[in-house]
Amino acid sequence: MSEEPDVFRCHVVAENAEALKEFLHETQADVGCRAIARGTRAGVGLDLYFRQDQLDQARAARSAPLVNITEVENVTENWRNRKEEVGGGDRFADRDVVPHGLGRKE
């Protein structure tokens, strides 16, 4: 069990890229793999990852009024569940057990 504080995935939308960048610059948030933002009717948005204390700070940031923050998922809680879906031993230790891909053979 992780002793780290829970992390939350949040979708953050700003009116434009400049406003979003201002928020990111101030909060130094974890932007995921790459900072790829997408435009929608609501503006420009991307997923960010915060611990609860970071999220509280982000919501209080000077640039916070420029963005809309929506909490999407408790990533750590999800991870606790996903760990149950990680192989526990070695399914292919017996060399006769061959992996099969997910494609339909047709």
């Binding site: 992780s2 780290e4 992390v7 995935r9 890229a17 979003l20 960048k21 990111l24 610059h25 974890d30 932007v31 995921g32 793999c33 790459r34 900072a35 790829i36 933002a37 997408r38 991307l46 997923d47 990852y49 998922e73 990533v75 750590t76 999800n78 991870w79 569940n81 996903r82 760990k83 879906e85 990680v86 192989g87 526990g88 070695d90 399914r91 292919f92 230790a93 060399r95 006769d96 057990v97 061959v98 992996p99 099969h100 891909g101 997910l102 494609g103 339909r104 053979k105 047709e106």
Partner: protein, 360 residues
């Protein structure tokens, strides 16, 4: 079930045992900080020197659990379908038996499914959001986040971001060893995992395309990530020290040079991948240059493509990053759908690469 680190390696062994003809296992020379070896599985019926090759990377970022599983799945699919002379279907994205034959018999595909096994093991057991490798913390630095280097900031491409970019470019890289996510490492290619990827490229000059599979997005990214693309001023490039004070700023009229033909190839192949991934279940990944909100330095895709500029004797490697799915660790039932999208995209790359790249 997601593959653990041991299963990735034993899956490679099992596939080679089951299909010894069209496969070969190679072991890069550098052990990880925790002493693990990693392997590449080559899939292809032709000798290494006979046909062009594609390098497929997964697992560079530890918390992104799907890419290694996707690469093992695709390798298994190709070998089984080729052996039984069938086609492959992923949702509504389908490939004929002749196309499977075309891929396996006209290419070598180097699958490097788990570049960073130390990080994956840590993420799957201890820390949900662990991204880096497990380089020990430097002397005098305490705290769990002082461990590790972001391998996708460690490649020898504009690695020294504090010297190579405008100070206000906000490069998405850090020189702080305790940065939990994007620490670049103490030197370019300091990490054994990075050097193993470099070794794969050095050892196989037939590699003409590379895809580094990450999550999450979804998005299909092509060069460059260091600055906005431009095709009009060849001297505005990563080797030009006169740009070190201005590199990376958006919309300033100075960008990273990419020849027009190469940009056309980069976009066209990305669109083929996007179309194939989208046909699986309707998800539009979208195609864009890797320069997003911020520039990046030291990434695998920019490094691979930059090599032929730095060394004219090196092979030009068209390089892509697939950001698959919309989260790092979805339920495996969702991961299976994402794996199908990645598989379809990579097959589309292989099938279209020769024609699209011809002459570029």
């Amino acid at each position: 079930m997601y593959l653990n680190v041991a299963e990735i390696e034993s899956a490679i062994d099992s596939l080679h045992d089951a299909y010894p003809g069209p496969t070969e296992i190679t072991t890069p020379p550098h052990r990880t900080h925790e002493g693990r070896t990693t392997r590449l599985l080559r899939v292809g019926t032709r000798q290494v020197n006979e046909v062009p090759a594609i390098l497929l990377l997964g697992g560079i970022h530890a918390r992104e659990w799907m890419p290694p599983d996707a690469l093992i799945s695709l390798a298994a699919d190709l070998l089984e379908a080729h052996d039984s002379a069938t086609g492959l279907g992923y949702g509504s994205s389908t490939f004929t038996a002749a196309q499977v034959t075309q891929v396996v018999e006209n290419f070598n595909l180097f699958f490097f499914p788990c570049v960073n096994p130390d990080g994956r093991a840590f993420s799957q057991t201890t820390s949900a959001m662990w991204r880096k490798n497990r380089r020990p913390a430097p002397a005098g630095s305490n705290g769990p986040s002082c461990v590790g280097v972001d391998l996708n900031r460690n490649f020898d491409f504009l690695w020294n971001h504090t010297a190579k970019f405008a100070t206000d470019a906000d490069v998405h890289t850090s020189d702080n060893p305790c940065d939990p996510h994007v620490y670049r490492g103490p030197a370019a290619a300091s990490e054994p995992e990075t050097r193993n990827v470099v070794w794969a490229l050095d050892s196989n000059p037939q590699i003409r395309w590379m895809v580094d599979v990450h999550s999450a997005g979804p998005a299909i990214l092509h060069n460059w990530g260091s600055d906005q693309n431009q095709s009009t001023t060849p001297t505005d490039n990563f080797r030009n020290p006169n740009l070190d004070d201005v590199r990376g700023r958006p919309d300033d009229g100075i960008g990273e040079f990419i020849p027009e033909a190469d940009l056309k190839t980069a976009v066209e192949l990305s669109e083929h991948m996007n179309d194939a991934a989208g046909a699986v279940r309707g998800v539009d990944y979208g195609v864009e240059a890797a320069y997003g909100l911020y520039p990046t330095s030291g990434t695998s895709d920019d490094y691979a493509y930059s090599r032929h500029f730095t060394n004219p004797a090196a092979t030009k490697v068209f390089s892509y990053t697939i950001e698959c799915g919309d989260r790092f660790q979805p339920a495996f039932s969702e991961a299976e759908q994402v794996i199908r999208e990645v598989s379809a995209a990579l097959l589309a790359l292989a099938l279209n690469a020769p024609n699209v790249t011809n002459g570029a």
